[in-house]
Each structure stands twice: as C-alpha cells, then as structure tokens.
C-alpha cells in the first residue's frame, strides 16, 4: 500500500487492509447506438446524433442492436464468463443526463456472469458480471469557482445517450492501487483484443468507478465503502484509491465513521470530494423494461461468435510460451513474450519456429533487432527468417553477420537471405576454416599462444581480434573461443 501522507506513522496503517472492487464501463464499437440507428461517434457537434428514441419522446420505442449483443458476448467469453439468458430493467432516477428519467440496464439477470481475469503476476480477479446498458448524456457544469459543487447551470449533450456499454463488475478481490491498475490494464488489453471496444480512457470510452473500503486485518465483515466515480486514467485511478484508503484510515483512527457515499476525484487537488450521500437517492426502483423482450442467445450463435473472435491475448501469449518453455532463459524471456504479442509479431514468430528455427534466438531477433522497424518486421517471410536463424545457430554466419543480414532484409522484405549474402559478399567461416586460420596464427604468434596454454584466458580476445582482422569481422567469435579451448585441453 502506498501511503501519501508522510506525517502519519506507518504502523497505524499496518493494522488495516483495503478492499477494492472496480466497475469498468466500456463503450462498444458499434456503428449505431444501442436502441436506435443514430450514429455511435465521439467528438461530434453537441446534440446532432439524436432521434426521438434518444430523447425518450412519447411513443418512441427501443429496438436492441444485434451487433452490441455480439460484442457483449465476446467480452463475456474473453472474461471466462457464463453467457446466460437475460432481461433488461429500467433504472429510475431524476438526473438530466437521461431525458427519459431512467436508464435501460440489466439488473438481477445480466447477460454475462461469473468470470475472472488473470493478472500478469498470476493473481486472479473475479468478475461478478458484465452486463449491457446504455450510456448517458454528457453534462458540463458551469461555475464561477470551477468547483462542481458550486455550479450555476448545467449543459447537456445527448449524443452519448444510448451508446452501448458493457459494465464489468469485479469481485472485491483487489487489495492495492497497484493491483487495481494492473487489473484495469490487463482487462483493457483483453477487451480491446476482442474487437468490441477501443478502450480509450482519454476519450472516455473506458471509465472506471472504484469501490473502496478499509477494515482491520482481523475483522471479518467489510468496512463501509465509498464509490469514486469516473476515473479516466490509470494515474487518477491509482491516486484516487491511495487518497481514499488514507482518508478512511484516518477517519477510523480518530474514532470517526466512514459514511457511505459517492465521491469524485479532483485531479487538481489530488483528493476525492463528496458528490452525494447514498440515502434514498440509491432507491432506483428497478423493474423489467416493458418495451423490450428477453434476450436469449442460442448456443449456436454463441459458438459462432466464439469461432469468429480474434484470438485472445492470453491465448496468444500462451502459444508463444509453449514454444520457449524449454529455454534456459525462460524466466528472463517472459517480458519479451508480452512485447512480441503487443507488437503483433507472435504469428510470424510461430510460423518461423514452425520452419525449424531456434525459438529463443528467433524471439530475441524479433524483439530486439526487428523492434525498430515493426511495420517491415510484420512483412518478413517466415521461411526466410527461419533460414537466416538456422544459418546463425549452425555457425554458418556469425551473430554480427546475422544481424546485418536481418537489417537488410527489413529494408527490403522481398529480397532473399541468399541474395543479401552474395550482395554483401558475406563469407561463411565454418569451424574448419577458422581452425586453419588459427593454426597459421599460432605458428606466427607462439609467445601469445604459450601464455594462453599456461592459463591466461585474456589472450583469447587477442586471437579473436586477429581472426576478425583476417576475416574482416565475418568469423564467429564463439567458434574461435571453442576451437582455442579445444586445442589447449586436447
């Protein structure tokens, strides 16, 4: 846990532990809104993507967007949820961001339930539900002081009202701001990979509400929680949670009570402030939406969605790990695997290894040498790449030569490795050729060789230098070392 207030003694904090659950709202990338054919688009002129359904005018009726349901199912499947028959409810409240005075959401029977997300460190965060609902309009508060509390008027743009959302509710499995950030980051990677959402926090297409409570470590029941609304960057998420944990511990330490309320994170002040206290305002009087019938995706449809879904991030990482799992350097390579998948080079990697190249060396060449020209790297011919890596593994080209060939290949991906080798006049120095060169050198440099035989290993560098000079840097230094050692031992 990060403690922001340095004046407080750390020991006061160690008795407490935070419990955090997150609600992540993500906008779906459909062409149209959830209930009507108005365009789903960000950044248009206010109130230009509106129809009677968006305005809740009398007589207008919602009709469910099939694509939105498909995207919601993709998200559910990606989060290991059960996809079940569901219905829609009206959530009633008086707030001008919804002109019909209710939001259509899912209540006790959501489309996706009971899933989980695995974080990169192996810990698991449960997903209670991931349901479909409509987004609300955007309010802009006017005030002279700049404080949301002292606003004198509010402007409403309903372009966002009715845009399809999936709200993903985590179990209260999160125990620190760091874990919360790691969860949102991984969750975002997963749902973006499904193609259902673009996950842009800065544009508000992914927003997070955090439920935070603290309790004494030996206490069983959870403490009173506060909800912090609309956190739109990982940075604010972390800071808001740390501030809130700190605030609640200080209240409890001074024998005060935490009041259940909704809070807002003020970026400038770097603190959370009360938005509203939860009393009757929380009585949303949910009831089944009479204008919509139940949603019961057939097993056939769910299977079809599953088959057509882009391969999920976690599966892609796993496929790569499968191929390098025998490598001695496995533990150092895990981070590299994530990079490879993030850069969309995993398919190329798998194809290349399929042509018999060494997995570890292929992974290194792709994430180091190829990383500077990703676009070209994506066009590499896997067969040519495997051929090059095999030349290097078998010692037919040195690692320096191999890197030079790869860099040429990246400049023109349609050229073949053989053509680059002959164009650059790269000569292959196999062990036999190197041994011959060394034999001549040993005769010439008898003093140095004697020092080496007597145990001075530094002389190896001298011989490598000499061989490189003779071969214009095209020999493999490792081979030189091996042959020298063989001569001394044998």
């Amino acid at each position: 846990m990060t403690i922001q207030n340095n004046s407080t003694d750390d020991s006061e904090y160690s008795e407490y532990e935070p419990t955090i659950g997150l609600e992540v709202h993500c906008e779906l990338k459909t062409a149209t809104k959830l209930w009507c054919g108005c365009k789903n688009s960000f950044g248009e002129q206010p109130n230009t993507l509106i129809c009677p359904v968006c305005l809740g005018l009398p007589g207008s009726l919602p009709v469910l967007n099939k694509k939105a349901v498909e995207y919601a199912i993709r998200i559910g499947l990606a989060l290991n949820c059960t996809v079940q028959p569901s219905i829609f409810h009206r959530k009633n409240y008086f707030y001008p961001d919804m002109p019909k005075d209710f939001q259509i959401s899912q209540y006790d029977i959501p489309i996706n339930t009971d899933g989980y997300v695995l974080l990169t460190d192996g810990s698991k965060v449960g997903i209670v539900r991931a349901h479909i609902e409509e987004d609300t309009g955007k309010s802009t508060h006017f005030s002279s002081s700049g404080r949301i509390h002292e606003s004198t008027a509010t402007l409403i743009d309903y372009n966002r009202a009715g845009i399809p959302l999936v709200e993903i509710v985590s179990a209260p499995d999160i125990t620190s701001s760091e874990m919360a950030k790691s969860y949102v980051n991984e969750l975002r990677n997963i749902i973006v990979a499904t193609g259902a959402t673009d996950g842009k926090m800065e544009e508000g297409s992914l927003r997070v509400d955090a439920n935070v409570s603290v309790k004494k470590k030996d206490q069983i029941e959870l403490g009173t929680r506060c909800e912090i609304k609309n956190l739109n960057s990982l940075r604010s998420l972390g800071k808001a949670i740390d501030y809130e944990i700190d605030r609640q511990i200080q209240l409890l330490n001074s024998q005060k009570k935490v009041i259940q309320q909704t809070r807002h994170f003020n970026e400038d002040l770097n603190q959370t402030v009360t938005l509203r206290t939860k009393e009757e305002a929380e009585d949303y009087r949910y009831f089944p939406e009479p204008d919509l019938v139940s949603l019961n995706p057939t097993g056939e449809w769910i299977n079809e969605i599953k088959l057509n879904m882009p391969k999920l991030l976690i599966d892609r990482r796993q496929s790569v790990i499968e191929l390098i799992k025998d490598s001695k350097e496995m533990s150092q390579l895990i981070g590299t695997v994530n990079t490879l998948v993030d850069q969309q080079l995993d398919t190329l990697f798998i194809e290349t290894v399929g042509f018999g190249s060494d997995p570890t060396l292929t992974l290194k060449r792709l994430t180091n040498e190829a990383a500077n020209s990703i676009d070209a790297a994506k066009k590499l011919n896997s067969k040519e790449l495997a051929y090059l890596i095999n030349l290097e593994t078998s010692g037919k080209v040195s690692s320096t030569q191999s890197k030079a060939i790869l860099s040429n290949l990246l400049e023109n991906t349609s050229e073949t490795v053989d053509s680059i080798i002959s164009r650059l006049n790269i000569q292959s120095f196999g062990d036999k050729e190197i041994e011959q060169l060394l034999d001549n050198l040993i005769l010439e440099k008898q003093d140095e060789f004697k020092r080496f035989v007597d145990g001075d290993d530094k002389v190896i560098q001298f011989f490598i230098g000499q061989v490189m000079k003779l071969t214009k840097g095209q020999a493999n230094g490792k081979s030189v070392t091996q042959i020298l050692l063989k001569k001394r031992n044998g």
Binding site: K39, Q45, P46, P52, L55, K66, P96, H141, L155, V293
Partner: protein, 101 residues
C-alpha cells in the same frame, strides 16, 4: 378500509412520492394508501394459486431476441432537437445546476 389494514402505509406512500418528486395532500396520501393497498391485495390473491408448473415471466408477450441490424439511420437536426427545450445554449440543453446539496 382503515389505515392499519392497509398493505401500503402512509409513510410508504410518502416515500414513493418523494422518489417520484410528487407532492401529495393529506387526502391524497390517504387515498393512494388505500388504492395501492387494494392493488397489492389483488396480487396477494395470486399467492393462493398453485403456480409451481408456471415459470416466471418477465414480459407478457412470449417473444425473445428481437434485434435491429447495426445500420445507421439519419438523426434529426439539432434545431428540432433543441426546439422543445425550455432553455438552451449553443445547441445544448440548459438545465438548473444538478449537484447542489
């Protein structure tokens, strides 16, 4: 019907009225307490029936999966949208401040 027999108390009527932002006179509170109790009393009669063979329904019409394809239909003009607004500013709805306690 006297107050103590009512399934819905006056307090409950006042609570619901507050949530719905309605102000009711004492006579109305009395009247609605009676009427709402009557409606609930009718629903209570259903409890006496054996409905174990009937699955719960969320909608009276036996339909499911009514969808619309994801195809854009032209929206209405901003002028038309704003026309009915009591107050507006630069194409947006202008409403009283909403976060005052």
């Amino acid at each position: 019907m006297s107050q103590k027999n009512n399934l819905i108390s006056k307090e409950q009527v006042l609570h619901v009225a507050k949530l719905a932002k309605l102000s009711l006179s004492d006579t109305e509170v009395e009247l609605f307490s009676e009427q709402l109790s009557h409606i609930l009393g009718y629903a209570n009669e259903l409890r006496d029936l054996d409905l174990s063979n009937y699955p719960p329904t969320s909608h009276p019409i036996e339909l499911e999966n009514i969808f619309r394809e994801d195809v854009v239909i032209e929206s209405i003009s901003n002028k038309k949208v704003i026309d009915n607004a009591p107050q507006s500013s630069n194409g947006q709805f202008l409403v009283p401040p909403i976060l005052n306690d």
